[in-house]
Symmetry: C2
Subunit: 741 residues, 2 copies
């Protein structure tokens, strides 16, 4: 139907249908009469508003045009419901994915245009599924512990159900009773049964895969008018609330909206939470689902945006590093959250996403953006407490300079289940729009069949999850918790300090038992100083071990090395591997210094800015420059470099460091400024129960960060260094001294 015809139809309808009557704005010719077939996931008024939006709201009409293109292409290609065969990325996998998108899109377009061809297309695909689905048993490929029927893992079947239920809801009242019964029974009810009965233990898990399952089953329940399915989805197969969607909301998010597996999976998990919650709100507003736990689902939307930098999510845990705010799930989250809160800051994120949903909430976002209501999203320093009760560690974000300024991320969370890495007290640093101190994320080529079927690679275990692959302390060349994540789940990190003061942002946390008998305390701060162009990141790590041990502290960094500020033997003609296991087998050694007491430095260049890292320790260390890629015959790893500081034979030690962004390189203008940092030295000194890191600037002034061993201390501390005494009360202090000369 072209727009002019649509306008004419709407004009006729609005004359014929008095406002307020629950008539569809575009009247489908009903072949079924049963009242209980009309849509329940979107209200008639909302469908009408979407139909009448026309071209007034560019983001909405763009999305409508996009969906039209996609659906028309699918209609032109004809019904294609293949017998399942392939892994992720394979032909049948991608076709079933395309089908649920087509079902959802065509359903919406039918409601918006009244064009029966869309409804018939949805019907015909679903009838093809009604033919196929009852003939299927477990998917033939892959090795998922919970196989799907359409897909290699049940997860994807659940996603299919979430999207297809929406499309089906939109056209269900156009069907003959016989067709409706077939599709109800042979597709939706069977799939719901498959997910919630035949895989009841899976369905009852407190895990994001199960959230997709509960969402699919619950939405099917609303569409089929089946309260039992809805209740099973909300309260678990035993209908007792010990499992199901509500329990998932209560357990999978912390009170601050942080999701245990980290931002990448928070993004992924968000979609079914948000989509199903929206359906619950539509059908049972009395549940106040978005207000549950002080609005934790809306906090989760805010949180996933906060855990991003320059549009990309912090890639901690099993994360694909190219995943960002433009992903469909976050588009969904922003639209639905805006629908609930009308928070204008979300509109600037929507604008950055460049698209929104073909839904009532999407219409609201598009209207808000078109009306100029968007306000900047405030990326701010914060801690996101982890754990259902907020007592299982935190993710710290210290920011300065807004979205593309400095961001120091400190990972003091709990384990993050099976997708968690062994990287407690890890940190990341962003500046100038780029990741400077990096996290590898997952070893995976998502959906690329040639790379282990698109699933996690073996190198995810052997490298990406290991401690040495992170900026975290490795003890005796072994990963935290022996690389066993259930053990990790029983050892939360303990936050000690989080403070955003005028002259310093600082956080501290402690991990006990990451290695047997070992306690690690790490304090990090973002400090500004009039002589420094940008804030600097100061790092103080203290370790106590029951027995003398080998401590390795890696720094994975991004950029081209400009100055290696220490003597080292370079591996020039043959490149050895650093170790045999626990990630070390993947590291080539490029340079290795002799053990030494002196402070050292490393300067690199990234994106037109220089970074100088200065580091010292309480006992002699060896500095090594390494690169990932050893023992990687299939080229599964990205080759990335790291600095490793190694200390042997100590049972108590401290590592201090500062990272200074400085200067500018402009390749176009051929100008270089500030290629040398302003910090000229780093020193550290211990007192009885406290430690100081002394940074000396080129001017001779000093900038000192003083930290008590007990970061919750309120007592008085003193540390002497080179004839000066630094005295303070409480957990920490900063001393700025003029030049002594």
């Amino acid at each position: 139907m072209n727009p002019k015809v649509l306008v004419a139809v709407l004009a006729t309808l609005s004359a014929a249908s008095p406002a307020g009557v629950q008539a569809q704005s575009v009247q489908p010719s009903r072949t079924a009469t049963h009242e209980a077939a009309s849509p329940v996931l979107v209200s008639p008024d909302d469908w009408r508003a979407m139909a009448e939006a026309g071209d007034r709201y560019p983001m909405f009409s763009a999305e409508r045009a996009r969906v039209e293109r996609e659906v028309r292409a699918a209609m032109a290609a004809g019904i294609n419901v293949p017998r399942p065969r392939d892994l992720g990325g394979g032909i049948t996998h991608e076709q079933h994915k395309a089908n649920y998108k087509a079902i959802a899109g065509a359903g919406a377009l039918y409601r918006m245009t009244g064009d029966r061809a869309y409804a018939d297309f949805v019907r015909d695909i679903l009838l093809a599924y009604a033919d196929l689905y009852p003939t299927l048993s477990d998917h033939p490929a892959g090795n998922s512990p919970v196989k799907g029927r359409l897909f290699w893992q049940a997860l994807n079947d659940s996603v299919w159900l979430v999207y297809s239920a929406q499309g089906y809801d939109a056209i269900r009242d156009t069907l003959s009773a016989a067709d409706r019964r077939r599709i109800d029974d042979d597709v939706f009810r069977r799939m719901a049964r498959f997910l919630s009965e035949e895989n009841a233990p899976y369905f009852d898990r407190i895990h994001n895969h199960a959230t997709w399952a509960t969402a699919g089953v619950g939405m099917t329940g609303y569409v089929l008018r089946d309260p039992d399915l809805v209740d099973r989805a909300l309260n678990g197969t035993a209908h007792d609330g010990r499992a199901g969607f509500l329990r998932q909301i209560d357990e999978l998010f912390s009170p601050d909206g942080y999701y245990a597996e980290g931002p990448y999976y928070q993004r992924y998990a968000l979609a079914p939470f948000i989509i199903f919650a929206r359906a619950i709100q539509q059908n049972e507003p009395e549940r106040g689902i978005f207000a549950r736990r002080d609005g934790v689902l809306l906090k989760a939307v805010d949180g996933v945006i906060q855990t991003s930098y320059a549009g990309l999510l912090f890639p901690i845990n099993d994360a694909m590093p190219d995943k960002g705010l433009t992903s469909e799930e976050i588009v969904t989250g922003v639209a639905v959250a805006y629908g609930q809160t009308q928070d204008p800051r979300l509109l600037s994120i929507a604008r950055q996403q460049g698209r929104t949903l073909l839904s009532p909430d999407g219409l609201g976002v598009a209207r808000g953006v078109a009306d100029g209501l968007a306000r900047p999203f405030e990326f701010r320093s914060m801690q996101l407490r982890d754990g259902p009760n907020g007592d299982l560690g935190n993710l710290v974000i210290l920011r300065q300079g807004g979205e593309t300024g400095q961001a120091l991320v400190m990972k003091n969370t709990q384990q993050g289940q099976g997708h968690g890495h062994f990287d407690r007290l890890n940190w990341l640093f962003y500046d100038n729009g780029s990741a400077v101190v990096t996290d590898y994320g997952a070893a995976r080529f998502l959906n690329i069949e040639a790379k282990n079927g698109g699933g996690y690679l073996d190198e995810n275990d052997s490298w990406a999850m290991t401690t040495v692959a992170h900026n975290a302390l490795v003890v005796n060349e072994t990963s935290q918790f022996g690389g066993d994540w259930p053990t990790g789940e029983t050892h939360p990190t303990t936050p000690l300090l989080f403070e955003v003061a005028d002259d310093a942002q600082i956080a501290s946390a402690r991990l006990e038992g990451g290695h047997d008998g070992v306690v690690v305390t790490r304090t990090q701060a973002l400090l500004e100083h009039p002589e420094l162009t940008y804030p600097v990141a100061v790092d103080l790590l203290r370790v106590r071990s029951a027995a003398p041990a080998r401590f390795d502290l890696p720094l994975h960094f991004n950029g081209h090395i400009i100055t290696q500020g220490f003597e080292a033997e370079a591996s020039v003609t043959t490149r050895p591997v650093l170790g045999a296991a626990n990630g070390y087998q993947h590291l080539w050694v490029d340079a290795r210094s002799a053990p030494g007491d002196e402070a050292r430095s490393l300067t690199w260049l990234l994106g037109g800015r220089f970074y100088t890292y200065r580091f010292s320790a309480s006992a002699p260390t060896t500095a090594m420059l390494v690169e990932s890629g050893a023992n990687d015959p299939r080229f599964n790893l990205r080759r990335e470099q790291a600095l490793i500081r190694r200390m042997d034979g100590q049972s108590s030690a401290s590592f201090a460091a500062v990272l200074e962004p400085h200067g500018a390189y402009d390749g176009t203008a051929e100008t270089v400024t500030g290629a040398t940092g302003r910090i000229v030295s780093i020193e550290q000194a211990r007192g009885e129960d406290a430690e100081v890191v002394i940074l000396t600037l080129a001017s001779g002034r000093t900038l000192v960060l003083a930290v008590a061993d007990d970061a919750r201390s309120t007592g008085r501390h003193a540390v002497r260094h080179r004839g000066q005494t630094y005295e303070w009360t409480g957990a920490w202090a900063r001393f700025d001294r003029e030049s002594q000369s």
Copy 2:
């Protein structure tokens, strides 16, 4: 002066100064009376138009605002004319650079605003130079063969002169006679003398450094009304035309506007040519400088744009790979060329550059863009002949799909003087906005003092210039011409074929004597086919050697390896170096196959698209995957990977290959399509005097490229392969056959 005051001044002036009278639009208070001090590089009318432009043309007002900010910052910082000390990137170097920019900018602003403070600032800086300059001898740092006085190399002194002469011209009539004489004599005349007399052999070279010198001296000549200086600049120190600017125009550009050292230096060389030519046009229009040699300077501007991809110049020879169309020199070239031609295609480049000059030509560009005159720049297939007479090889560019489509670049040029690489018959391939088959460019960190003072690194000789660092044939592990560039200059490449037909774009060239007794002929084509989503690049290289030899054919590629389509032994726990010299010492070996006859393949992923390279040869080869970075203790090299095909013991051989872009990976949408290419095999076959490359598609159809050994042949050729005979007349043919099944 704020804009309102400026408008008032202009209103007063335009009432007082009848149009047509040669009064300045903004009347500086004259302290000097000598008529011959008024500006000669920009006309009074042009200064008036610039002053009156106001905010009507955003690109112009933005540039004016930028220059104002820069100049005001310089004025606030005060006069700083330090005694020269540092290399490129160092403090005194950068200060003298900043000074000439301030001189030029402040001069223009004085003319545009009438604000005497700008003129006085220029005067005061130049008086400081008048104090300093006569006391200087050779610059104390660096090892340039032609040292400057202000800078470590005379080149930068010349650039200083080119820019400062413009600023001086703008304010010279504001000076007292005594100041003018001091600056004339102790700065400009002395610098001109230093460049053109004390360094006469340098000045008389036919080389881009000398062009900066002639431009500086010639513009000084116009400003000081010194015809002898002008003539020396135009015709050389002997005034006989055997050297100097005119000779440089005649010799340094080919008839197609190609500059012998390649695009990177063409960009750099362009600036003095264009700036000085513009000054000549202003002062001696009767010379028709822009029409000289059929408009070669304007062709050079077009050519430098054509030799770019996605805004970056092809990095052949000693090129910094981040240099692109936004560089100041090309901004200058586009503005001046537009001023001469009014070609509206140049305006789209200017718009992409996002800035223009604070000059009459810049005003014209800004006005054209503001008036909506811009038309798309047509990036097209072309050959740029090399050499003053166009008979020293060519640079071939085969394009499809416009600016960010496919571009195959074939380097069949001459040597390119001392900045040329030993990479004759090298090729590059671009697709989807990225370099896919790459060129390392120069080993250099421009102006970064910690990296060899910002100059060329040792690795420029030991790696970047070598043949193995390029996609060119290496014979017996030695570079072309033994790595001796003067020898290279005596051996041009011979273009054999360049044809852009409906169904194929093809080029061929031959190099004789790159290695003793060796002749290499290479034919490359960009072929479209209905079953292929994108054009594919076909490569056929034939070598004949007087003695059996080792042939190594590298392919330097960009992307993550997805499928290594051949068996090979991987270097998993120790990584050996490939060789001892000629670039081989910088290559780590990651995998090495046994010698074999079979065709092989390699698939990688870059920027969301897959690339499959299929390759065969006429005799058994070993395939090796290598990475640069060995013997690089200072981390001077970027680590980049290559495939090397090695054939031993043959004296006559052919190497065939095809590179197919295919499919899509979308990390945001998590979709993958076309991860497997449509070409399933490559075969090659020889006839008596010709060869064919047979590509079989997934459908069974074949696509065959047939090439005569003599690409200038007009005769009949036949090649038999698997019972089929391919017969054609002339240099080449393409055969598309249906599936035989």
